[in-house]
């Protein structure tokens, strides 16, 4: 199928050579474009602001990438992140630093549950995660009767490792960078990475090769849950409090970040490197609009159009048999 498409778009053959770089290309063009209209944007100081704001989105997108690679989708990330922000805010006073790993572990567990529901009950991930997300929201509402929990001064001290900065370079960017490196490592060098690629590209074949598909799917959702939770922790730290709707509205940007990078929503193709680029594109478009001064009345329209355009440029159709 792929080939026939290529035959169809013979001139595209040349295009397909530059394909791998198009996302990066787009990103650079975007930066230049905004830079020309608003030179201030390119100052290191401002860029570091942009980056640190993008990092939470990236952390959540990382988990999402793992799931989308398998051809699934995780709609529970924003609920998960909000939930985690509540949990960490609740735990910090009593547990101190132990609260961070614990929260991420809880996220992992919740994610595994989503995966279990999806895989074992054979419910499409779209619905399964939608439902588990609802459950998590319910839980975070119950915790404080819907109120948000502020970090006390001690708590704010304990999150310095997130909110602080080294030589004016925000830690949160470093954290995101480390996660990105870790993610790429996992995808390239571990059994999990290899197998999820195989499952995404051809589940029946992977199954017949003796890969326990279900297990790796559940793992992917688990990791996604963990990433969401970690994102929630970062949010809680940056906003120095947790709230049941702290991460609301982060779901769509997260998905957008993954797909705009060039990862196929149908699974199989993609990696976290792409997601790094995708995240930057999404957040730069968003913040860039403010910077350039696009009228707020029009911002949503511009953002929507930008999304479509970005995907149009970045997805590698030669690898996608059928575009659904």
């Amino acid at each position: 199928m792929a080939k026939t498409d290529m035959v169809g778009m013979a001139p595209g053959a040349a295009l397909s050579r530059v394909r791998p770089f198009t996302p990066v290309l787009l990103l650079v063009l975007l930066l230049l474009g905004i830079g020309i209209v608003e030179p201030g944007f390119l100052r290191a100081k401002d860029l570091s602001v942009v980056l640190s704001d993008a990092s939470v989105l990236f952390v959540m997108a990382t988990g999402m990438t793992l799931v989308i690679m398998l051809g699934g989708i995780d709609l529970s990330v924003q609920a998960g992140a909000s939930f985690a922000s509540m949990v960490v805010a609740e735990l910090l006073p009593s547990l101190g630093y132990a609260a961070f790993p614990l929260t991420v572990l809880i996220g992992l567990a919740v994610g595994i549950c989503s995966g279990f529901v999806h895989v074992k009950l054979r419910i499409p991930s779209f619905i399964a995660t939608l439902a588990t997300g609802g459950i998590m929201t319910g839980l975070s509402l119950l915790m404080e009767e819907g109120r948000s929990v502020a970090l006390l001064d001690t708590g704010r001290h304990e999150v310095r490792w997130i909110t602080g900065s080294i030589f004016g370079f925000p830690n949160v960017i470093l954290i995101a960078a480390i996660l990105a490196a870790g993610g790429m490592f996992v995808q390239r060098y571990t059994r999990f990475g290899r197998y999820s690629a195989a499952i995404g590209a051809g589940e029946p074949a992977a199954h017949a090769a003796g890969i326990s598909v279900d297990r790796y799917k559940i793992m992917a959702f688990g990791l996604s849950g963990a990433c969401a939770a970690f994102g929630g922790v970062l949010l809680a730290a940056r906003l120095s409090s947790g709230s049941p709707d702290l991460a609301s509205q982060l779901l769509l940007p997260t998905i957008a970040a993954v797909v705009v990078g060039g990862t196929a929503i149908t699974g199989g193709i993609g990696n976290i490197g792409l997601t790094v680029v995708g995240t930057l594109i999404v957040s730069i478009v968003r913040i860039g609009m403010t910077f350039v001064g696009v009228d707020i009345f029009a911002q949503q329209i511009v953002f929507g159009g930008a999304l479509i355009l970005a995907v149009f440029v970045t997805i590698d159709r030669s690898k996608i048999a059928i575009i659904k």
């Binding site: 792929a2 080939k3 026939t4 035959v7 390239r188 060098y189 571990t190 059994r191 990475g193 290899r194 197998y195 690629a197 195989a198 590209a201 051809g202 029946p204 074949a205 992977a206 199954h207 017949a208 090769a209 003796g210 890969i211 326990s212 199989g268 193709i269 690898k319």
Partner: protein, 500 residues
């Protein structure tokens, strides 16, 4: 009536077709043979209208046409029955037959479903298939689906004045001998209505059904023969460019299997599929399982690899009792499986050769629990060399390779996984003669290395030729167990009588 004149088509440097000329006369069956990559499928795509030739023309009753798309090809009286089963499993037989041709059933802008079904029933009757046109295609057997495809192709004659040419692309590759007989029978009775272009790898079949035979090699027609005058070895020679030597199935290399059993099934049962099957696979033995579709042999094969959980009986691997609930456990038990559906279950088509080879046993490519891409590469290159896999490199994506090479990659995977038991589910399906013989050699090598092999095949001949022992199944029971030593192979008849 249908003339293909001087058609050429090339993709970049590769010449898929070189000035191919073929003539199809009224009411005749034209055989078309050639190895994979000889240009058969490209020619078919040209006739189907999905590929435009670079040069040359197509004449129908003397008038030149340039086929725009499959719809247009149909309008010109050219129908396709694809090797890939091309029915939509989620739709009813009638809907499949009339797909994209519902026009005639529109009444006041609405579909007249009743008439649609009636007409479909008539078409089905013509190919002698008695199923309710409302049943979903997915509920039919392969054979029945093939017939539906034929009916679909025939349905064309209602819609076009042009003489009908039906292009059958390896229709027999998924059929049992019994069904093939039926198919041929239908074709003969339909010759009065339409002409056929019959593509197959099985030369004997081609000769049996065709009036004339064209041989394609490297994109060009190398010969045209009246079937009556041609012989299998001759055609084979022209097709492969080398003579078909005796001992086609390497009977000469058939060794004597060891004594110790590697796989034992006792009273093995899967409810609704087969009951109390006893079998013993010895070291280095090639064990054939014969039986018509529905005899339970397909399910037996899949059960032995953990696809279908057994509902009764015991299974022992190397004397250890095991219960296989999933392929994962089967692989862990040292069993390998070469599936019938290579493209779906065999390979992850969009991943590289190397990745596919190490899929079942990643450990060999790992150093302290990390994938060592260099090491993986060397392993892959090693197999590519040893199995003579024709691929640009180990990084090549499998989708682009020929069926034979793909099959070898699957095999290489299980060799990498050091499987001591191999289940070959129609290992040569869809392979050309050249690729087949290579696979036969490999099977002999493996058995010589003491690998136990259980095999089912499309042809009895192949099964008999390759196996030490043959189990025959009927209605989910073992009905016969024949020894097939190299020097005294049983006759097909001998096997058949246990099957039906």
């Amino acid at each position: 009536m249908l003339n293909v004149e001087q058609i050429s088509k090339s993709y970049g440097p590769v010449h898929a077709l070189r000035e191919v000329s073929i003539e199809v006369r009224p009411n005749e069956v034209v055989g078309l043979i050639g190895e994979n990559g000889a240009g058969k499928s490209t020619l078919m795509r040209v006739l189907a209208g999905t590929v435009r030739p670079d040069s040359g023309r197509i004449l129908i009753d003397g008038t030149s046409v340039s086929l725009r798309d499959s719809r247009h090809a149909n309008a010109c009286g050219i129908a396709m029955v694809f090797q890939e089963q091309s029915l939509l499993l989620n739709m009813s037989v009638a809907e499949n037959i009339h797909l994209a041709q519902e026009g005639e059933f529109m009444r006041l802008g609405l579909l007249d479903r009743r008439r649609m079904n009636e007409v479909a029933r008539a078409h089905l009757a013509r190919v002698g298939l008695d199923v309710d046109p409302r049943t979903k295609a997915g509920e039919l057997t392969f054979a029945a689906r093939q017939m539906v495809e034929l009916a679909k192709a025939l349905a064309l004659e209602q819609r076009t004045t042009a003489p009908l040419t039906i292009f059958l692309d390896e229709p027999t590759s998924v059929l049992e001998s019994r069904d093939i007989a039926i198919l041929f029978d239908r074709m003969r009775s339909l010759k009065s209505r339409a002409s056929f272009i019959f593509v197959s790898h099985r030369l004997d079949e081609v000769l049996e059904i065709s009036d004339r035979v064209y041989v394609l090699k490297d994109g060009a027609v190398v010969a045209e023969r009246p079937a009556a005058e041609a012989t299998v070895p001759e055609l084979h020679a022209m097709m492969v460019g080398r003579a078909l030597h005796s001992g086609y199935y390497r009977e000469d290399r058939q060794g004597v299997p060891g004594a110790e059993p590697v796989l034992e099934a006792r009273q093995l049962t899967v409810r609704g599929a087969f009951e109390s099957v006893d079998l013993t696979l010895r070291r280095g033995e090639v064990l054939g399982v014969a039986g018509v579709i529905g005899s339970g042999r397909e399910e037996l094969m899949r059960t032995l690899f953990g696809f279908l959980p057994q509902t009764g009986g015991t299974l022992k691997v190397n004397g250890q009792e095991v219960v296989l609930r999933s392929p994962t456990q089967a692989v862990a038990a040292g069993i390998g499986y070469i599936p019938r559906e290579r493209r779906v279950e065999g390979l992850v088509m969009d991943l590289s050769v190397a990745v596919n080879m190490t899929l079942a046993n990643l450990d060999v490519a790992m150093t302290h629990n990390m994938i060592d891409h260099g090491r993986e590469r060397t392993i892959a290159d090693d197999w590519i060399r040893r199995l003579h896999i024709r691929t640009p490199s180990a990084a090549q994506v499998c989708r682009n390779l020929s069926g034979g090479n793909q099959q070898k990659i699957v095999l290489a995977r299980w060799l990498t996984a050091k499987s001591r038991i191999l289940i070959l589910d129609h290992p040569t399906r869809g392979l050309d003669v050249g690729a087949k013989s290579e696979v036969y050699d490999l099977i002999r090598d493996l058995s010589a290395q003491g690998v136990g092999i259980i095999l089912t095949s499309d042809t009895l001949e192949e099964t008999i030729g390759l196996c030490h022992t043959i189990l025959v199944m009927r209605d989910g029971m073992i009905t016969g167990r024949l020894d097939a030593p190299a020097e005294a192979k049983p006759s097909q008849v001998a096997v058949l009588e246990h099957m039906v």
